[in-house]
């Protein structure tokens, strides 16, 4: 669905990607993790055609994104972290925006807005930031685009809305759609994403499915110093040492995404080696 080969991209003085390779397949929700400034949003905007690579090739749904052809824009929806909604009533906005997207489903849209408890009366400028974001998420999902890119979608949402977001997202994915979510809030996406991408120093440092992570790594709490010594990554807490260990028992353990992320960033080489072995 999305194939990125040898992508290089720089802002004026700062190189962001150098030789980045990535493949995204339909039927998955990808979680794109990385430190601040590593290029998560830049990658999404390159895929959506809002930034142009200096070299390399991006193929998204058979299109070259930088050409921003209408048929491509109908099939890709980017939910940016900073977004804009015009100061007009919601119904007028829906009436004039939805018709650009042939797969937009109004019933789905109302189902999501009801789920998020968004008031549909009045202008969008009267809504809070969180309400506007939920409205845009509802719209993004109702567009039913095969490729959905979300940049920090849970920023600005309250606790109940985050839980509602996970519920709605879980119901929105199907085998034809590919969803790429860039986030710092890994906890918000637990049980939702099924593949983890970690971006570091201009390349994809880690790209594994949740099932594979559960098979190869074990996440546990332990006071055992021997076990702690074997861990790829450990963190002390009152309940014991939180550990990321090689899964030698073959038993699936539920991945702790925050621990996994820290382990990849701080001990990336060891983890990569373990997955290659």
């Amino acid at each position: 669905m999305v194939s990125i080969q040898d992508l290089s991209f720089s802002y004026k003085r700062k190189t962001v990607f150098k030789g980045l390779e990535l493949n995204l397949q339909p039927g998955h929700i990808y979680g794109l993790l990385g430190r601040n400034g590593t290029g998560k949003s830049t990658l999404l905007r390159n895929i959506a055609g809002f930034l142009f690579p200096q070299s390399g090739r991006i193929d998204a749904l058979g299109f070259e994104p930088r050409r921003r052809q209408p048929a491509f824009l109908q099939q890709v929806f980017l939910l940016p972290e900073e977004f804009y909604l015009p100061p007009i009533p919601i119904t007028r906005w829906i009436e004039h925006t939805a018709r650009f997207y042939p797969l937009f489903n109004i019933d789905q849209f109302y189902k999501y807005t009801t789920g998020f408890d968004i008031p549909m009366q009045g202008g969008m400028q009267e809504m809070s930031y969180g309400q506007q974001k939920k409205l845009l998420i509802s719209f993004a999902l109702a567009v039913n685009s095969p490729l959905l890119l979300m940049d920090e979608p849970t920023n600005g949402l309250d606790i109940l809305s985050k839980s509602q977001f996970r519920k709605i997202m879980a119901g929105a994915v199907d085998e034809k759609k590919c969803i790429l979510i860039s986030t710092h809030q890994v906890k918000d996406l637990e049980n939702l994403i099924d593949r983890i991408l970690v971006i570091e120093e201009g390349r994809i440092l880690f790209d594994q499915g949740i099932d594979s992570i559960a098979q190869r790594l074990s996440f546990t709490l332990s006071f055992d110093p021997e076990e702690t010594a074997r861990a790829f990554y450990s963190e002390s807490s009152l309940k014991g040492n939180a550990l990321v260990l090689p899964n030698t028992e073959g038993e699936d353990s539920r991945p702790d995404l925050e621990m996994l992320y820290k382990a990849i960033i701080l001990e990336g080489e060891k983890i990569s080696k373990h997955f290659k072995s």
């Binding site: 905007r45 959506a48 055609g49 809002f50 930034l51 142009f52 921003r68 052809q69 209408p70 048929a71 824009l73 109908q74 929806f77 980017l78 940016p80 900073e82 977004f83 804009y84 909604l85 015009p86 007009i88 007028r92 906005w93 009436e95 004039h96 925006t97 018709r99 650009f100 997207y101």
Partner: protein, 281 residues
């Protein structure tokens, strides 16, 4: 599906632009009408003999058209000045050509029609009021028996009261469309303060052009020859009697004037199109 232009898609884009901006546009037109009425009322108060004459109407129309039209054109692609708005705008599934033509429709065609209609909506009753005041208060010019004739309404198409050169070529009108298209380009080119930056860029370009047309070109002329205007060069000789004038053939002059009249706006629209196509955010 045609990826370059589809009338249906363009129609949807126009509808969506109108739905989003109509309140602002209608208020702006009301403000323009109000300013014109205020200006005419001021003239009625200070001049009891010949207020709102044809030259005043002509100057009011063109000053307003240039100022408001260029300012409005500089906001047509203002979405591109902010990251969040630019993403929303560029992600609308329409081609760059459709987006440009939507901007041209609102910024050039509809604005000109709406401005002209608002001008006459204010102009006609105000001129009639001025004529009534003259008829009721002063039938003659002060200290004479010369009657004060009634003032007519400006006819933009015969250009009767325009400066001489404009009567023939409508240069102000064509010049307006050319300059406005530069501001349209400025709205894509400059992310912030596009009106001011375009004014500065335009004045700099114009200054260099005038300098070249008057002084720069003289470097290439034989000694003693000077530029007279854009298409004529003069040699004064020892006295005015022996002055010589070289002028471009009239056909070439007409071609140049034709190009200046008709080619500049499309040229700048084409540049705007490529700039829009290459816009990154």
């Amino acid at each position: 599906m045609n990826q370059t232009f589809s009338f249906r898609r363009w129609q949807m884009l126009v509808g969506s632009h109108w739905a989003e901006h109509r309140k602002r546009y209608l208020l702006a037109l009301l403000a323009v009408g109000g300013l014109q009425a205020g200006w005419y009322s001021f003239l009625l108060l200070i001049d009891h003999f010949g207020p709102i004459n044809l030259f005043i109407q002509y100057a009011t129309f063109y000053c307003g058209l240039f100022l408001v039209g260029c300012f409005y054109a500089s906001t047509i692609f203002s979405e591109l000045g902010s990251k969040s708005r630019a993403i929303q705008y560029l992600s609308i599934p329409a081609s760059h050509l459709e987006k440009l033509l939507c901007g041209v429709l609102f910024g050039v065609v509809l604005f000109f029609i709406a401005f002209t209609v608002v001008f006459y909506i204010v102009d006609i009753p105000m001129v009639s009021l001025a004529n009534r005041i003259i008829a009721n208060e002063h039938q003659h010019w002060p200290n004479t028996f010369l009657p004060i004739g009634s003032v007519g309404v400006l006819n933009l198409w015969n250009n009767e009261w325009a400066p001489i050169v404009d009567r023939k070529y409508h240069l102000f009108l064509f010049g307006y469309f050319a300059i406005q298209s530069i501001f349209l380009l400025g709205s894509v080119y400059f992310e912030r303060w596009s009106f001011i930056k375009t004014v500065v860029a335009f004045l700099l370009f114009w200054g260099v052009f005038i300098l070249y047309a008057n002084k720069g070109i003289e470097q290439h002329l034989p000694e003693g020859w000077h530029s007279y205007d854009l298409t004529r060069w003069i040699h004064n000789g020892d006295n005015m009697v022996s002055a010589s004038l070289v002028t471009l053939p009239s056909t070439m002059e007409r071609i140049l004037i034709f190009l200046m009249q008709y080619s500049l706006p499309p040229l700048f629209w084409i540049i705007t199109y490529f700039r829009l196509k290459e816009k990154e955010v």
